[in-house]
Symmetry: C2
Subunit: 317 residues, 2 copies
């Protein structure tokens, strides 16, 4: 049994708990949080070092910038850690910091897994290796963006809102058909907002405020729908997500080739957790083999991800 | 420079040669064949052991059952080898045979890479690991099947023919929409034949012979088109191929998730060669690290596939 500590108990932490409960080779050894939780297995985060002997690895489920950047380096001193750190601009620095701490303390960190970064990274890297003479395209959605939904909710008169990021079908079509065009991530996605507003609020003004919000919406084609709270609760509260990683290039210098990896997810946290759990298995096994420092999806051979034996995995070859 | 020997110089061998010529960290050290070839770098296969010191690894480009099953075990005694052995039913036995020979002789074999087996295997295995509570579907095409094309050409009165295997769009649709149905690989694909026949041949009889050919066509929905040799040469001589690996399941025991990997290839051998070359780089590096025996795509961490440095690959995370 691989004994897992969960650090942070928001959406991702709850999905990790469900995911581990659904498989047979792992168990949750503790759920660690700064705020007191009224659940089985809750332990105060400040006492985590007392549980060192009962835990093989921690899955860090807090937010990237606010929690993981500080918790990762601290917890790696005493534990093996896995995280879904997703601030792409900071991954390289975070990797090297964790690599040093892991080596100094004899522990192993697997950073930035999940689906993007994670499985999408894997597909970008394999695409680059197989078709070095090529281009890659990452598109996200249809998916709910929590940040953009919160930005809409911050506008005066808005009571609740959900924002979807959607890749434009005509852009996907151009990529797949190998048409020449300037790919621009802003122009490749549209944003769709479902907002509940106060009675008597000026919808024209709110729509204008949303569409002109810098960074969040201004560079995008944005559609705003005003709906009732009931409708929003019923139809727009699932954390759906997904996306596409596409590599297009010349195979062996000649034959055009298209490689495409697509995800369509009913629940972003459930799927991120599912990937984290498979990589947690790999982390456990690589740590057992004596590996120390920091690793990413780049370092993990597929056989480490599955509960199945090597011989049984040969059936999938 | 990684010095590669190519064994067998049919379609795949020629694509491997082109692919290595297009990159900067590998070179072709010899092209080995039983039959005499009028090309640079040709060496008689029977003399291959004389070139042992000039070669880091061999890529075996012969056919699975006729060539690789005998050549692999023999050549692994003196060389590291990579192959695209694709007889799924025999892979497990072949793996264990090669593993023993590699260990006895201090060499490393990477078997059964390419796209299926190879990248498709990878996606089946990652899908299984991330969504253990799920089902997988492999569909092939649109692609030319050499075996089926040859079967059509063997019919009296047929001068030339190309056969395409095509996944039925309505089956892909059902899989993606998570509809319940009995998946049957025979019923999930249709076969389309373009045939050139002798003047005065009875097309009705030929069509009937094709459609009722046991194993090859009888269990499938088959469409036959009679065209001119000119049309066939112009429009149906490319070795296009591709396909889909789809995993559908419950993420973390709950959220429905769909993972899909698609290939659309202008040239089957060019792409198989491109994958072989990336995995040849991995074979070389793992052999340098002292690994011996046999390995598959299961054993290869993604970082080994690319010419880029680890730090530069972190940009793709």
């Amino acid at each position: 049994m691989i004994r897992v500590g969960i650090v942070g108990y928001g959406n991702l932490g709850r999905s990790v708990k469900k995911g581990i409960d659904a498989i047979s080779d792992m168990e949750v050894a503790g759920i660690f949080s700064r705020r007191k939780l009224d659940i089985d297995l809750y332990r105060p985060l400040e006492n985590i070092n007392e549980y060192k002997d009962q835990i093989d690895l921690l899955i860090l489920c807090g937010s990237s910038d606010k929690d993981i950047l500080s918790q990762g380096p601290e917890l790696l001193k005493s534990f093996n850690t896995l995280d879904s750190f997703d601030n792409h601009a900071k991954i390289k620095d975070y990797f090297h910091e964790m690599d040093n701490i892991g080596k100094e303390n004899g522990n192993l960190a697997l950073i930035s897994t999940g689906w993007d970064p994670g499985l999408f990274s894997l597909n970008r890297i394999i695409g680059q290796a197989v078709l070095p003479d090529g281009k890659y395209f990452t598109l996200w959605g249809k998916g709910v963006s929590q940040g953009h939904s919160a930005a809409v909710r911050s506008i005066d008169g808005v009571l609740d809102a959900t924002q979807y990021t959607i890749p434009k079908p005509e852009i996907l079509d151009k990529i797949r058909k190998d048409e020449e065009f300037d790919f621009d991530s802003h122009k490749a996605h549209l944003r769709e907002v479902y907002a509940v507003v106060e009675d008597g609020a000026d919808r024209k003004i709110i729509e204008e405020k949303i569409k002109t919000m810098p960074d969040y919406f201004a560079p995008y084609e944005t559609f705003v729908h005003f709906i009732s709270q009931e409708d929003l609760d019923k139809n727009h509260k699932k954390m759906v997500h997904g996306g596409h990683v596409i590599r297009r290039g010349k195979a062996s210098g000649e034959g055009n080739a298209l490689m495409e990896f697509n995800l369509d997810l009913e629940s972003n946290p459930d799927f991120t957790a599912a990937v984290d759990i498979a990589y947690a298995r790999a982390l456990y096994r690589l740590a057992k083999e004596g590996k120390k420092g920091a690793i990413t999806v780049l370092d993990v051979a597929p056989k480490y991800l599955s509960e199945e034996s090597y011989d049984s995995l040969l059936n999938f070859i």
